[in-house]
């Protein structure tokens, strides 16, 4: 497994994963990467060069909001929060993703 596992994800999947991660509550970039890593049991290791462009993309589309705040151990950190539009987008992308996975399954199971 390469270090930048995320770059081998299906296109757009990282956005979906970030949105999903933020459902639990606001989180900073490191926290998001950490959580993706933990939940995926170290399969998804997201580097900065994927994570931050993705976050910027979500900001641009208005699906997340960013604000500076203090982290658990009292350090400055930039926290991302899911917006209402982001929540809606998550549902849409989730559906789309399920459809895609199903399709891939079908193709793989033909043989």
């Amino acid at each position: 497994m390469g270090q930048n596992g995320a770059s081998e994800l299906l296109p757009g999947t990282l956005d979906l994963l970030i949105l999903k991660t933020l459902v639990a509550g606001r989180q900073h970039g490191y926290g998001i990467a950490q959580r993706l890593k933990d939940v995926s049991e170290d399969v998804l290791q997201v580097g900065e060069s994927s994570l931050y462009p993705a976050l910027q993309r979500l900001l641009l589309r208005g699906w997340v909001k960013a604000e500076w705040g203090a982290s658990e151990n009292n350090r400055r950190a930039r926290y991302y929060t899911l917006t209402a539009a982001g929540r809606k987008q998550l549902a849409v992308e989730r559906q789309e993703f399920d459809r895609l996975i199903l399709a891939i399954h079908k193709v793989l199971n033909i043989a």
Partner: protein, 900 residues
């Protein structure tokens, strides 16, 4: 492009947002490192693991930026920076280019905004394209007036989606608020005027048909005031609705205020107060205006989908019924005999448009040509710059830049110049516009235009900017893409420069040709203006003071007597040699209808020659103006209302209507002939004097038959004209000195009159304002074109000399004298100028037909003007070429040959 707003927002806050991102990533790293250290790694080890785990920081930042700003746009920013640096590196060239662009684009913008306001824009009303104005098939110099009875019949015909009537214009009312009285512009409208136009009130309400009743509607006599008056006199207070004010001694209630953009239905005019038509009857002492009096203009709103032709046909079909129902008593066979016509009125009534259309279009062509010349000039400068940068461009190509990238770089530079020019041009245009309108607006015919820069003007400027950038930037950019990478290695690439020379020579020929055309035009207009200034006016312009008396507060019935008393008072003021008064001022005589004459007792034949210049004057008027009496006598104090009718005519009247006859003593029946309304007998008048021809309306008008009638013999006891013009001829050469004493004397007679003073010289100058503006502007732009052509010739010749330094040095070393070198250089300039002059002469001769209507006393193909222009252009070419030629002749062959 989606998410435009956040993207733009990003651009503005870019520095901060990028800082945020960098900080965020640093924190990310610190957290990662901390975690690793807590896992037991050495700090240094932790740092390197972190770096490896997280990838390139720069790449992350680049990718994040790409999210917000597309790649191509980032390149643009770079192009702009490089472009700005290039332009700064040649400040003189850049300044010349930007200045000529600023003048060119600015002048185009200024003229465009006038053209737009006066010729293109529609009225600020609902669906203006469906508005038409009623006129006759006869070509008149004014909008045909109709009686209220006619309007009422058309309104009731139900052929249209609405009909409205309004009084032509220009009369003033005395508005009294508290004990302060001022003169205001007013007009009368039918009750459905505002609803038919689809105009809404800013405050209160506008008129309803119920207001337009004799004695007023439920609210009594009412008025609607303009936004301007509301702001100036009432400070914009909302309480103005319901206020009682006094207009011409009649109390009226303000019911509403119009919106700021509504100026009436005539472009260039404005109003302060509007009244219902029936107020006309109320504010007057006399019954001068009754339902049969023709004084209204009629506008109609077509039904949706109804074409002009269909509507005209429908109207003509019922014309006999309208005619029968609206026939005045006693009946008049000429009444409404001509077929009625409809003309589009969506852009307002045509008065000002007709006046300014030709000169404006002409100026538009001139400034467009100037901009073209400026473009040719800058294209040449850019080509020269391109050659100087050939090395740089080839190097960039060799290093892997794409040709498109290089062309884009050069185009961006052109765009930067165009943007600078357009910005400065817009500022120049704003100033120039105000100056132009101030020039064109005279006391007699004021022009009021809203000159705010709006999106239409901005769009025009932007289009001009992009078009010019493409015009002058495309050729150099395309040429740059043809540079070969290998050129970077060579010191001198002759192939490229040969091609360039042909292109730049072509551009120069175009410049010279267009400049010649502009210089010819300037010459023609300046000569026209000069000729107009020397026309024999038929009166003494230097010693006459004209007093405009405004007597709105004087009852109609007292006015005639008062006017005569005022004239006698002025005549008695020390320093006044002669004094006289008239209803029409000189040089702005209004055309309101024609007069025909016939032997007494016989009706004038339908084809009788019309006399359109008629003036009512007092005794002394002819002497005051210095108009010579050729035969018979002047009007005198014995020509009163009770005496038999007399008149004085000019020589043109005799020449045209009664050639060869001695007319003094002949009695003629004088009949007013108003095209839509038929004939009206004024009375029998005996010709008592013949006077010399004098300019009546406009200096450039040919001399027309003119009739002068004694004001004392005005047919009605009531005189509706509230303006009266007294001429005082000074016994000294400076009439302005009389102002104070004349004013004091007049106020002593009647303190209710308001006075305005002008010298006749001013009035003559005012009447030539349009010609003066055209002459000054065309002269200015002709000069500018010459300057640009000179600069272009100089630049290209200087460049050619620099390129041929070695060749010239060799020639000199081989024995060519300095004079021979000068000839060598100048021969090229001569060829360019020669071809340019030939082409330019052709263009000028072809274009001359378009200026003919604006000229006076000079032929459109005037050979002297053409030869003069060619001489001027050739000498400019000689001067522009001789400086580089002289420099070439000073080349020291030894130095140059050693260098190379």
């Amino acid at each position: 492009m989606r998410q435009l707003f956040p993207r733009v927002w990003y651009l503005f806050r870019r520095r901060q947002l990028e800082g945020d991102l960098a900080e965020e990533m640093a924190i990310h790293r610190a957290m990662k490192q901390q975690e690793l250290e807590q896992g037991g790694l050495e700090p240094r080890e932790a740092m390197s693991v972190t770096r490896r785990a997280l990838g390139s920081l720069a790449l992350a930042q680049d990718r994040s930026r790409d999210v917000w700003v597309p790649r191509w746009l980032q390149g643009l920013g770079q192009d702009l920076q490089v472009g700005a640096r290039m332009l700064r590196s040649t400040p003189l060239l850049t300044t010349v280019a930007v200045l000529s662009l600023a003048l060119g684009i600015g002048a185009n913008t200024a003229i465009f905004s006038l053209v737009d306001r006066l010729l293109l824009r529609t009225l600020p009303v609902k669906q203006p394209e469906r508005l038409v104005v009623l006129s006759t098939s006869q070509r008149l110099g004014y909008l045909a007036p109709y009686s209220f009875a006619t309007f009422d019949q058309i309104r009731q015909s139900q052929l249209f989606d609405g009909a409205l009537a309004f009084t032509n214009c220009c009369l003033k009312s005395a508005l009294t608020i508290g004990n302060e009285t001022q003169s205001v512009d007013r007009f009368f409208v039918s009750g459905d005027f505002f609803t038919t136009l689809g105009v809404r009130a800013l405050l209160g309400r506008l008129f309803t048909p119920a207001d337009d009743m004799p004695g007023g509607g439920a609210s009594g006599p009412v008025t609607v005031i303009s936004y301007r008056l509301w702001q100036e006199r009432f400070g914009g207070a909302a309480s103005v609705v319901g206020t009682l004010i006094t207009v011409d001694r009649t109390p009226v209630t303000i019911v509403g205020v119009t919106t700021p953009e509504f100026f009436g239905v005539e472009v260039g005019k404005t109003f302060d107060v509007v009244f219902p038509i029936h107020m006309q009857f109320k504010t007057r002492d006399s019954i001068y205006y009754d339902v049969d009096t023709p004084y209204l203009n009629v506008m109609l709103r077509l039904k949706p989908g109804q074409s002009l032709a269909v509507a005209s046909a429908a109207l003509r079909a019922v014309q006999p019924q309208i005619r029968a129902a609206a026939m005045p008593r006693p009946s008049n066979p000429e009444f409404l005999k001509d077929p009625m016509m409809l003309e589009p009125a969506g852009a307002g009534t045509p008065a000002l448009r007709q006046r300014f259309e030709r000169p404006l279009v002409m100026m538009f062509c001139i400034v467009a040509l100037v901009l073209l010349i400026a473009c040719a000039n800058i294209a040449n400068l850019q080509l020269a710059r391109g050659i100087a940068r050939r090395h740089e461009l080839s190097l960039r190509l060799a290093l892997g830049a794409s040709r498109w990238r290089l062309a884009r770089q050069l185009l961006t530079e052109s765009l930067v110049m165009a943007i600078l020019g357009a910005t400065a041009g817009l500022a120049f245009a704003t100033w120039a516009n105000r100056a132009l309108v101030a020039q064109l607006s005279t006391f007699a015919t004021p022009v009021v235009l809203d000159l705010a820069v709006d999106w239409r003007v901005l769009a025009f400027t932007a289009t001009a900017m992009v078009a010019t950038a493409l015009l002058f930037g495309l050729a150099p950019a395309l040429r740059a893409t043809r540079a070969a990478p290998v050129d970077a290695l060579k010191e001198q690439g002759r192939m490229a420069s040969e091609g360039r020379a042909a292109l730049s020579s072509g551009l120069l020929v175009v410049q010279v040709a267009l400049s010649l055309t502009l210089v010819v035009a300037a010459g023609l207009f300046v000569r026209t203006f000069e000729r107009l200034g020397r026309v024999t006016l038929g009166f003494d312009r230097d010693r006459v003071l004209v007093v405009t008396v405004n007597a709105q507060l004087v009852p109609d019935g007292d006015r005639n007597r008062l006017y005569h008393r005022l004239v006698q008072t002025v005549a008695a003021v020390p320093g006044v040699a002669h004094a006289g008064g008239s209803i029409n001022p000189p040089l702005v005589g209004a055309l309101v209808g024609d007069v025909v004459v016939s032997p007494p007792g016989t009706p004038p034949p339908p084809d009788a020659q019309r006399v359109s210049q008629v003036n009512e004057i007092t005794p002394g008027w002819l002497s005051a103006y210095g108009t010579a009496i050729r035969a018979g006598r002047d009007i005198d104090d014995h020509d009163t209302a009770s005496a038999s009718g007399v008149m004085v005519v000019n020589e043109a009247f005799v020449r045209r209507l009664f050639p060869g006859r001695n007319l003094v003593g002949t009695t003629l029946a004088v009949t007013a002939r108003l095209p839509p309304n038929g004939d009206f007998l004024i009375g029998s008048k005996t010709v008592v004097g013949i006077v010399s021809d004098a300019v009546y309306r406009a200096i450039r008008d040919p001399v027309q038959p003119t009739i002068y009638m004694p004001l004392a013999q005005w047919g009605d006891n009531a005189l509706p004209y509230t303006n009266f013009f007294i001429a005082a001829q000074s016994s000294t050469p400076s009439p302005a000195h009389l102002t104070r004493s004349v004013a004091a004397a007049l106020i002593a007679v009647n303190p209710d009159v308001s006075l305005t003073f002008h010298s006749l010289t001013d009035q003559v100058n005012d009447s030539l304002v349009q010609d003066r503006v055209v002459a000054v502007l065309s002269g200015f732009f002709g000069g500018l074109a010459l300057l640009l052509a000179g600069l272009g010739l100089y630049g290209v010749t200087a460049y050619a000399v620099a390129r041929r330094r070695t060749e010239i040095a060799i020639r000199m070393a081989l024995g060519t004298a300095p004079a021979g070198v000068i000839r060598l250089v100048l021969s090229r300039v001569d060829v360019l100028v020669g071809i340019g002059v030939i082409v330019g002469t052709g263009v000028s001769l072809w274009a001359s037909r378009f200026v003919a209507a604006l000229l006076y006393g000079v032929e459109p193909r005037d050979p002297a003007t053409l030869i003069g222009a060619i001489a001027v252009l050739t000498s400019v070419g000689a001067v522009a070429g001789s400086l580089p030629a002289w420099r070439a002749s000073r080349i020291d062959p030894a130095v140059v040959l050693r260098e190379s």
